[in-house]
Amino acid sequence: MYLLGIDLGSTVCKSAIFNLDGTPVSIIGKEFSSALSSPHYGWLELDPEAFWKIVVECISESIKIAHVNPKDIAGLSVSASGELFIPISKNEKPVCKAIYWSDKRALGYRDQLNSIKKFGALRIYKITGYPLSPIPSLIKLLWLKHERHKLFNKIYKILLLEDFVNFKLTGSFATDYSLAMTSQMFDIKKKKWSSEILSEMEINEDILPNVYPSGRVVGEVSLEASKETGLAAGTMVATGGLDQSCVAFGLGVINEGEAFNTTGTCEIVATVSNKPILNERSFHAGVMCCLHVIENKYLPLEFLPSSGSTLKWFRDNFGEIELKEAEEKGVDAYSILIEKAAASQPGSFGIFMLPHFDGSGSGYEPFFNPESKGAFIGLTLSHKKGDVIRAILEGITFEARLYFEILEKLGLKIKEVKAAGGGAKSKFWLQLKADIFNKKIILPSVTEGASLGAALLAGLACKIYSTPSKAIKEVCKEIAVFKPNRKALTIYKKHYEVFKKIYPILLPIFRLMVKQKLYNY
């Protein structure tokens, strides 16, 4: 028997088939940037049908190359990035394209943010766990309501990415708690849509999907979906979860004291809490109180929108030589870039990098500030390319340290950190994390935890595993441990103190740039 996990990330869609012990049989990943388009500067939209096609390709290819009988796939679940939703009409067709989470139209949704402020930013946070930000579904839904009234009136249901795939596969409108949380309309304590928010924002609850805990049966793969995807008709589909909560599960991060750090397109830091963290302090620290896919557990999380994307930016714009070399040698260009960074020294000989290439993250107010941009500070003529690359890695990792510090200040003790995402492929970066965080970094056998986490949820739904901890015992293995190096630690401690000052120092300039209309969204 096998389990299938689908992971809908922020730029890549993956379908992975696992043995019951967690070893992958096949993983197919495809970028869905072709389904994204930007009609205006700062706008970014997803074409749902084009996106669905890519999901279908991933599923069918993963079945094909795994050489398994589709009937042996006991069940599947979807892990998805949050916030983004697809509005569908009564005839079950998309009403319009979906607004991508990082979309910056309408001056970064100034008016919509004002409506939330009117409601009370702290008040909405205490209900939903979602801090004031232009990212959650509610903001985009309000924009449609305010600016595209006709389209808004046509909406029959809004489906988050997981729900959309669940719907395409089974015909049911179902989401799970952890994903619903990213809408900023879900009461995370009561585990239901918040009537308080919906009534004040004048949104009809009927347009929202039904909400279930993760790992509950939604339905079976329909005949039509079976033909499209190659899945067997009748295959069980269970609720999955928010990608980060699935990652946590897949990495085996389910108890207090355990944490993880994902370096993918975004940089994410999260830890487990048995209680919701919804106080004023966590609000001002930008902590998103996510829901774990494990029932009654919470996943306070902080994130930066641009992480691996910044390194990719560097590779694509300044790494022609490395890309060529990589092609000739048949290796990854990132590994060549990182080799150059490794030849530099802790502290990159004095270069500091503000990693806000796609706006700021949580951690500092204002959060998710689209006005904030990236910067390199401290350049001199003696700096080499490797120093700049290292500064990128360090800048991102300093930001992640900031996030750990914030979580710990809220009383969440963190003993060790599991690494996930593309960044975990680099041993150098893992050691750098250990040195900068001053924490033990554990590299698990599966760093693509999201699809494994989703598969495990399907396994729980069809009773292959009796409890989450038993599932983890079966599948989670540690490959390597990285311990902080004392010498590097001291250097980084000093650099980190400087790093922390940069955003507050530059903030007035970013504001001025907006005031002078140099930044226009």
Partner: protein, 503 residues
């Protein structure tokens, strides 16, 4: 037709150009030379035998391509970096290696001189607002302390130009523009400053005789003729400090014009009818190479070197392509930058990769690339670098304005002037027209003009410049771009102000 030879001792090479009477280049040769650098002792020295050899090679190479009778070269003059000098013994042999202006051994002596003599007085007499280790006076004091034998035996402290004129004619002279940078020269009285000489415990006879620029000194001696291939009929005259020479070569001989040179570092020179002393104590006031005129000298700590750094570290692919296609790699970079809108989509660079020169004067300042998004590419960074040098230029022009010195025309010289894009950016950023010259080597042309004046080929400096200097292109500021840059320029200043305490 008569000809003039102009020799320019640049920081890294000796450029010899032969001009005809109308300012056209008939022959040109460049010979590199190198310094002996000890980073630990912070010393930068020159072997005088090597330098003389390089000078001879450069002159010989230029003469080789000169197909006319050598005696038709009626005049010769040299420009140098006035603040490099060598102590000579009674037989006029070097007692040690020459100490270059880049040499920083005399930090302590600089402080001592400033304290003992008083910065105010030094400024009033010499025009130099602060005492830096670049000045020969500080190094003479260093020699007195650290090399007493050399100090005792020195018959003459010769700037490089003086030494070369001596080698060619047997006479020791120094022009006012070069003497200015010794810190021992009274710029208004045009005399060696006795009080400073007394403080250093040296005698006026240990310094070359002072002359204006473009003063006739004498014929090339037989010995020098044999060594260099120059005709004994060629008359040598005093040249100038290279900034002054380049100003003349660019026609910057009256107020309201600034010559801007984007070489490795950005330099600005403007001509004054009377000395102007900067109240803020930033800008030195020097003697020009034109009688009774003065010049203000402003310089950054960086300039074209920032683009060179970026080219070498991040443009290996373009370097390869340029080699393959046999084009200048800077042209490829400029092409990328030209596709980016003015303002580089709000990417702003602070070019202080070696610290900030004027007006910030902050050796601790560093380079900053500000406002990066995932949408910016290489072309953006290149353009932002070019714009940052233009911002640096504007800051210095505004500094001049604050002193009451208004500029209405920029003459661009140096390597940067080759870039049309860069020239236009400079015009747009500063709101001032930028004019380029046919000849890149403005300093060589400047001293050739001085040689022509010495020989009375021209009646006046105005006439000489009119005949000898040919302009290439005038870049007018574009109104729309000016607005964009005005806002960015404010940001450029703001970013520095915000970050200066962090550096």
């Amino acid at each position: 037709m008569n000809y003039f030879m102009g020799v320019d001792l640049g920081t890294t090479s000796i450029k010899t150009l032969i001009f005809d009477e109308r300012g056209y280049v008939v022959s040109k040769a460049v010979k590199e030379y190198s310094y002996i650098i000890d980073p630990l002792k912070r010393t930068v020295e020159l072997n005088m035998d090597e330098l003389w050899k390089a000078f001879k090679q450069s002159v010989k190479a230029a003469l080789k391509n000169f197909k006319v009778k050598r005696s038709r070269i009626i005049g010769l003059a040299v420009s140098d970096q006035g603040d490099t000098f060598v102590p000579l013994d009674d037989y006029f042999k070097p007692l040690r290696k020459a100490i270059a202006y880049l040499d920083n051994r005399s930090e302590e002596e600089s402080k001592l001189i400033e304290e003992e003599m008083g910065a105010d007085k030094i400024f009033k007499v010499t025009g130099q607002p602060h005492v830096f280790p670049s000045y020969p006076a500080t190094k003479i004091l260093w020699i007195r302390k650290n090399e007493p034998e050399v100090f005792k035996k020195t018959a003459i402290y010769a700037p490089i130009e003086s030494y070369l004129i001596y080698k060619l004619t047997g006479t020791f002279v120094c022009d006012y523009s070069g003497a200015t940078l010794s810190l021992m020269f009274d710029i208004e009285r045009k005399k060696w400053w006795n009080e400073m000489l007394e403080f250093l415990n040296i005698d006026e006879t240990q310094l070359p005789e002072l002359k204006p620029s473009g003063a006739l000194i004498g014929n090339v001696t037989d010995l020098a003729s044999k060594e260099t291939g120059l005709s004994v009929e060629t008359m040598v005259s005093t040249g100038a400090h290279d900034h002054a020479a380049a100003a003349i070569g660019a026609g910057n001989i009256k107020p309201n014009i600034v010559t801007e040179s984007t070489g490795a570092v950005l330099g600005l020179v403007t001509t004054l009818n009377e000395p102007v002393y900067d109240e803020k104590r930033i800008i030195p006031c020097n003697c020009h190479a034109i009688e009774n005129k003065y010049l203000l000298l402003l310089y950054g700590k960086t300039g074209g070197m920032v683009l060179k750094w970026f080219r070498d570290e991040f443009c290996q692919e373009e370097i390869k392509k340029a080699k393959l296609k046999k084009v200048d790699v800077y042209d490829i970079l400029a092409k990328k930058a030209s596709k980016i809108p003015p303002g580089s989509d709000n990417l702003i660079m602070l070019p202080h990769l070696m610290g900030a020169g004027m007006p910030e004067n902050n050796p601790k300042a560093k380079g900053v690339l500000f406002g990066i998004t995932l949408g910016h590419g290489k072309g953006h960074v290149i353009r932002a670098i070019m714009e940052s040098i233009a911002f640096m230029l504007r800051r210095n022009i505004e500094l001049l304005k604050e002193m009451g010195v208004n500029i209405n025309e920029i003459r661009s010289i140096g390597g940067g002037a080759k870039s049309k894009l860069w020239n236009q950016i400079k015009a747009d950023v500063t709101h001032i027209p930028v004019v380029t010259l046919r000849i890149e080597e403005a300093a060589s042309l400047g001293v050739a003009i001085l040689a022509g004046l010495a020989l009375k080929t021209f009646k006046s400096i105005d006439e000489a410049c009119k005949v000898m200097i040919h302009f290439k292109k005038k870049y007018l500021p574009n109104l729309k771009n000016m607005h964009i840059y005005d806002e960015q320029y404010q940001m450029y200043i703001n970013i520095y102000e915000c970050l200066k305490n962090l550096f």
